[in-house]
Symmetry: C2
Subunit: 218 residues, 2 copies
């Protein structure tokens, strides 16, 4: 796979987060579950509601998912895996620490703005997952956190950044981007790209780097 193909692949994945879910019926059920959880909350949603939204019978649902929690776990895992993929891609990318941090913020914001319904379910229903499933999600979050911390630490080492509290600043950067999912639909008069550019600038200020123009899209 060439670099261009990898970029195209990543952009497609960013646009269609459920592409990996097969067969088609399983994917339709997942999309229906995201909508139902976002509208009514996990606990107020029944598997019957989800099957109905997908135009299927409850019996057909059970072929693909044994429980409602299995649906939430699948949604949560895919959402967190995409988040990690986006942040890892930025951390492993070209350029200096400021380029990589700006790219992490831009793409992470774009994802939370563009997929705010999914992101809300993924972020706000975490406590609805049972204790046996939560550790795998917590581990994905730990790795997302590590990707951002790694960029900030490298900027501190190179002298590009001035950050007195690296773990606290890492937390704040991720938190700022994640909250886009809450307000984006209701108050936003900006495109996901515009919010991404604004936030990248604000985050570079938070780490004491010079703001810079957006890197041209490859």
């Amino acid at each position: 796979m060439t670099q261009d193909e990898r970029v195209a692949d990543r952009q497609a994945a960013e646009e269609m987060p459920w592409g990996e879910v097969t067969p088609d019926a399983a994917r339709r059920l997942l999309v229906a579950a995201v909508e139902a959880f976002a509208e009514r909350g996990y606990h107020a949603t029944t598997t019957r509601d989800i099957a109905g939204r997908a135009g299927m019978s409850p019996a057909a649902l059970y072929i693909h998912y044994k429980t409602k929690e299995e649906l939430l776990l699948r949604i949560s895992r895919i959402g967190h895996e995409k988040a990690l993929e986006i942040l890892r891609h930025a951390a492993d990318g070209e350029g200096d620490a400021a380029d990589r941090l700006a790219e992490a913020v831009r793409s992470f914001v774009r994802w939370h703005a563009g997929h705010h319904t999914t992101a809300r379910v993924v972020q706000y229903e975490l406590d609805s997952l049972g204790a046996e499933h939560r550790p795998q999600i917590v581990e994905l979050r730990r790795r997302s956190d590590a990707a951002v911390r790694e960029i900030i630490e490298s900027g501190v080492r190179s002298g590009e950044f001035d950050v007195p509290d690296v773990p606290g600043t890492t937390l704040a950067v991720l938190s700022l981007c994640i909250d886009v999912a809450r307000w984006f639909n209701t108050e936003g008069r900006r495109t996901p790209d515009e919010v991404g550019a604004l936030y990248a600038d604000l985050v570079l200020r938070m780490v004491g780097a010079e703001p810079r123009p957006a890197v041209a899209q490859k």
Copy 2:
């Protein structure tokens, strides 16, 4: 009322947001509703659940609240009024723009960390309010936004701040503080005061001001 009494009053209000709700039974029901909504979501909670948590009968609940939505509206209004009060107090306070912005962030973060359960209900169940009730909450949010924007604008005018996008930066500052309610309980190894101090420093960087030590508590 002296200045000291006003400060004491405000601190008491920050600690006990439901103090204004009387009689006692109405307050107990409100606290029970916050817990139930936070745990299971608004739509999965019945008035029977809420009455049960408060140790009362459903009939006793209807003396105080005609509908479940009336409870959510009351919670949401009180929460948003406290947020506005905190931000107005900072905007109208002493000191230069950086002092006032730092105080706004510190006290707003402290509220979201210290009352994260209430704050989650207030922030994440907004869409559960009917169309006839939402405008009063939207108006409170508009005024909270205006309080922060006012501080930032005054810092830009005085030359203390360098902010190319005032509305966008205002939104980001509020958003950063609000998201504290999401992560505070689960990942926080810091006290509300510590998060407030860290965030005040990060926000001063966002607006291009010099960081400064915390203002001594009066």
